[in-house]
């Protein structure tokens, strides 16, 4: 298949394929494997970190990323060009992360009740030379209610617009703005309270 004009060489010299080209390959049964490889190359790392911020543990992030990519393959026919490919990928990754957390919470608890256990995982999973403030930030994020956590991560780390976050999470832009505002306030309070 011919590449799009927007496919270009990036600063590291590797070919950067446009989302439009990847989406076209994804819808073509003869090129679907190539599309999945390109998605892994382009979005594998950002998706991994998005998932890891949600589930904290590397092993869980590994399972969720694998399931995300399998679902990309399985449900490729549901992808609509109306939305950016990245939003669709982040949506699948977010749903798979929530699925894992819901399984972990079981029937008796909600995902929001996992805050303390996720907070404890932060230090267990951190590199030995990790910065204390960065650890406090991750602990504060782990304690946030799920919606606030998703919005904060997508805005603060991924630099997504509220419109993109709306495509991923589904809530209205005003609700997302409110969630982000509360998340930032809670994080600031937590770090201020715990910082030496």
């Amino acid at each position: 298949m011919k590449r799009d004009r927007s496919d270009s060489m990036n600063s590291q010299g590797s070919l950067s394929v446009s989302d439009e080209s990847i989406a076209r390959l994804l819808c073509d049964d003869n090129h679907v494997e190539e599309a999945v490889r390109l998605i892994m190359k382009k979005y594998g790392e950002p998706l991994y970190w998005h998932i890891r911020r949600m589930v904290v543990a590397h092993d869980d992030a590994e399972d969720v990323l694998q399931e995300t990519m399998i679902n990309v393959y399985k449900y490729r026919s549901t992808y609509s060009n109306e939305f950016p490919l990245s939003s669709w990928l982040y949506k699948i990754a977010t749903n798979e992360s929530l699925k894992l957390l819901k399984n972990r919470a079981g029937y008796s608890m909600s995902v929001d009740d996992l805050g303390d256990s996720l907070k404890d995982s932060v230090r267990a999973e951190a590199s030995p030379d990790a910065d204390e403030t960065l650890l406090l930030l991750q602990e504060a994020i782990a304690l946030l209610p799920t919606k606030q956590k998703m919005v904060f991560n997508l805005r603060y780390y991924e630099d997504k617009s509220y419109e993109e976050i709306h495509q991923i999470v589904g809530d209205s832009v005003n609700t997302l703005k409110t969630n982000y505002h509360y998340a930032v306030q809670k994080i600031k309070d937590y770090i201020t309270e715990h910082e030496l």
Partner: protein
């Protein structure tokens, strides 16, 4: 108390991603997808065979119905024509030998006919 400056903080994560993790993950995903494709092809083939057999069975049933149509309603009763073709009782007695007639007469007396 001074408010914490979140925007000035590094976006770095305090965790590390294992080396070659993404390459290994890509290969694992590709092999899972390949298995999934094989499984899909197998299911598709099975479905086609099932449809083929079902169509053949239906065609055979229709052909049988056309060749030997079912007769609906109770047990079949021989029609008048077939009864009339039976030999009359007199013809039967006429064709019997004297010995056979003797045996017949003995049995009739014995059973009271």
């Amino acid at each position: 108390m001074k408010e914490f400056d979140l925007e000035g903080l590094s976006r770095e994560m305090p965790y590390k991603m294992p080396e070659h993790f993404l390459d290994d993950m890509t290969e694992r995903v590709m092999s899972k997808i390949s298995r999934e494709q094989q499984e899909q092809r197998r299911r598709h083939k099975e479905r086609r065979i099932y449809v083929l057999f079902a169509s053949a069975a239906s065609a055979a049933a229709v052909a049988l119905l056309l060749i030997h149509p079912f007769k609906i309603g109770g047990p079949t009763i021989p029609d008048y024509e077939s009864i009339s073709q039976c030999a009359s009782i007199d013809e039967v007695f006429q064709s019997m030998s004297t010995d056979e007639l003797g045996v017949y007469s003995m049995m009739s007396n014995y059973y009271g006919n």
